[in-house]
């Protein structure tokens, strides 16, 4: 079959590889009908996630048709249309049972690696380094889906792929970020980053009762989408002197009640701390650039919440922890517990409350992946979201 494989920094190729097989009794094989490149795939593309090895198959946003199931899978059969959440979860451990799916105990064969880095490890992810289990991803014609009895969600026939594909990651991730803000009536929610997760966080903030949503970015077409599709007030951080002053002014001097960092480890900025991060990251002294996170911590109102769906992998410094402490902030973060939200969000799509396909800018073939990774990374051609058909 054809698959998008990682070969090194900014080197992805479409290769012919063997078809996946059932390896465990709860596995299924899915024929992929639509897959996407995620913003977090760009961290792999840029070589910021350790433990990738040559030939690893990428992709954690994919859906398709079940073609084969393992002996222990009774709720799915060949021909079922499914979306597959990006965290691989067992559904039986203490964490899964407590709805903290992305912290699953039982799916990462390389959990010892994560334990060495983080103390404890969570769920494995598709196509996201050996640290996260080394599972082959879904930017391919076929993919092996472990614990197919609990993870995939069946999709009714009437719904087209493009409307439901983002249930695999970015829609639940944005919703999780907004849910973590514990939004109360009258709350102002500020979102750093108008990429796909940020845009879904804005939509979700409205669903959860926000009074106002403010979006911060610098890319014109992304700010436009935030304004037009997500009803957000926008701030172009390259056009203003200080984001803090602007947000303070917009909120009557209080600051936003909740701040969402939907940017993560490769933040851009033009302040001294952003330059400092850039230099250290290039020299591999610091893994992550945390400009957006620092700004969110600084701008958030007293007693507010900073929610972090943006991915961080290693160490960051110059975090204004005094500000977080002094203002009694609540910090919430992590990989989204997709399985917790996915069914209720599917119901919203079925009720036509949201059409997640609004942010697709590029409809391509799997063969176009190498070019599309570059285009998406460079934000060329007004690229916001790439979907690919095998």
């Amino acid at each position: 079959m054809k698959a998008v494989c990682w070969f090194g920094k900014t080197d992805v190729r479409v290769e012919n590889v063997p078809d996946p097989k059932i390896l465990n009794p709860h596995d299924a094989i899915v024929r992929v009908t639509l897959t996407a490149i995620c913003g977090s795939d760009l961290h792999l593309y840029d070589g910021y996630i350790p433990t990738m090895t040559k030939g690893d198959i990428l992709g954690h946003e994919f859906m398709g048709e079940v073609v084969e199931v393992g002996a222990a899978v009774t709720n799915l059969k060949a021909g079922d249309r499914v979306i597959v959440p990006f965290p691989i979860c067992c559904g039986r451990c203490w964490f899964c049972k407590n709805d903290q799916w992305s912290l699953c105990d039982n799916t990462n064969p390389n959990a010892w690696m994560v334990e060495a880095m983080y103390g404890f490890g969570g769920a494995a992810l598709y196509g996201y380094s050996h640290l996260y289990g080394g599972y082959a991803g879904g930017q391919a014609e076929y993919v092996r889906v472990p614990f197919a009895d609990v993870n995939p969600v069946k999709i009714p026939d009437g719904l087209p792929d493009e409307k439901v594909l983002f249930l695999t990651d970015i829609f639940p991730t944005g919703y999780f970020a907004a849910d973590n803000c514990d939004i109360k009536p009258g709350d102002v929610v500020a979102v750093w980053g108008c990429g796909p997760v940020g845009l879904f966080a804005m939509k979700s903030a409205w669903m959860l009762g926000a009074a106002r949503v403010i979006a911060i970015d610098r890319v014109p077409e992304r700010l436009r989408l935030a304004r037009e599709a997500c009803n957000a007030e926008t701030v172009d951080f390259e056009e203003v002197d200080d984001v803090y002053d602007v947000l303070k002014e917009m909120t009557g001097g209080r600051g936003p009640d909740a701040c969402i960092d939907a940017v993560g480890m490769e933040a851009h900025g033009h302040t001294p701390d952003a330059l400092y991060d850039r230099v250290k990251q290039v020299m591999r002294i610091e893994f992550d650039r945390a400009h957006a996170l620092r700004q969110a911590l600084h701008c958030c109102r007293k007693g507010g919440t900073v929610s972090i769906p943006g991915v961080y992998g290693g160490f960051i410094d110059k975090i204004p922890f005094g500000a977080a402490f002094g203002k009694g902030l609540t910090l919430k973060m992590g990989q989204a517990h997709v399985q917790k939200y996915v069914r209720s969000l599917l119901a919203r799509i079925e009720r036509d409350e949201i059409d997640p396909s609004f942010l697709i800018t590029h409809r391509m073939r799997l063969d176009d992946a190498p070019e599309m990774y570059r285009t998406f990374r460079d934000k060329e051609d007004e690229c916001i979201k790439v979907v690919m058909r095998p």
Binding site: M1, A3, C5, W6, F7, R13, E15, V17, P18, D19, P20, K21, L23, N24, P25, H26, T53, K54, G55, D56, I57, A72, C90, R92, C93, W94, K97, D105, N106, T107, N108, P109, A111, W112, A124, G133, G134, Y135, A136, A140, R144, P146, F147
Partner: protein, 258 residues
């Protein structure tokens, strides 16, 4: 010369078998290091040289620092312990499994289940209520086997066993089951003591080859948890990849020694 004084028999703390292993392994490591022609190679060659010296002299600075010796004190006092105090390797690891103690105990008590999650065990055959025959894949691929007997047992709480006299690997172990409050299942603790082939150096060798016993027991317990909680052990063994497996293996080996 001062150095000859440190070579007196009193300062020797490495047994004969281990001295030979040291010399042979050290020579191989040194030869490999020299062929690398790099800074890392020089360091590796140096380490090999140190191993050769350790074997030739019978003195190990590391053992000295740790206050241990692999030379048997006497052959007489082996009557009631499989692994004499101060000898061998001790490993202790704990994992929480989301099942009641009775179920985990019942699974573990049938020793024939052990190879399902202990990666270094090839087979266990239960001989009678107390005795069983164990066959392992030993360090660096060498096989070993022994008979074990259960010496202590409290149903649903603990099982203790040890190898019988004359075993290839003298070992003793116990597993303890402690229930947790709030639906958190059972703490399963394993304590193992064993005397690996080649004495303590065998364990060091095993570590070099990635078969560190502490790590292995921890991974075995993780596999036990997966097997009991989900019915399977997570794996990616046999999945597709963009690089043919032989080429990938070569590359990983190259990365390991780099």
């Amino acid at each position: 010369m001062q150095t000859t004084e440190t070579l007196s028999t009193a300062s020797q703390n490495v047994n004969d078998r281990e001295r030979w292993v040291s010399v042979v392994l050290g020579s191989a490591v040194a030869a490999y290091g020299l062929t690398r022609r790099s800074i890392a190679g020089t360091v590796i060659a140096g380490l090999g040289g140190a191993l050769v010296w350790r074997g030739a002299s019978g003195h190990c600075a590391v053992y000295d620092a740790l206050g241990i010796t692999s030379i048997p004190e006497s052959d007489g006092d082996r009557s009631n312990v499989s692994v004499p105090y101060g000898r061998g390797v001790r490993v202790e690891q704990t994992v929480t499994i989301g099942l009641p103690p009775e179920e985990i105990y019942a699974f573990f008590r049938n020793f024939e289940n052990l190879p399902r999650f202990m990666s270094h065990l090839q087979s266990v055959k239960v001989l009678d209520d107390k005795r069983s025959h164990w066959v392992t894949k030993g360090p660096a691929g060498s096989d070993a086997e022994w008979d074990a007997e259960i010496i202590n047992e409290i149903p649903n709480e603990l099982i203790g066993w040890r190898s019988v006299e004359g075993s290839q690997i003298d070992n003793a172990g116990s597993v303890h089951f402690k229930p947790n409050p709030g639906g958190r299942g059972t703490d399963v603790k394993v304590i193992l003591r064993y005397d690996p082939p080649g004495g303590l150096l065998g364990a060091v060798t095993a570590k070099i080859f990635g078969e560190d016993p502490g790590h292995q027991v921890k991974e075995d317990l993780r596999a036990l948890k997966m097997l009991l909680e989900t019915g399977e052990i997570a794996t990616t063994e046999g999945q597709p990849n963009g690089v043919p497996s032989r080429a990938r293996l070569r590359e990983r080996l190259a990365e390991l020694v780099r």
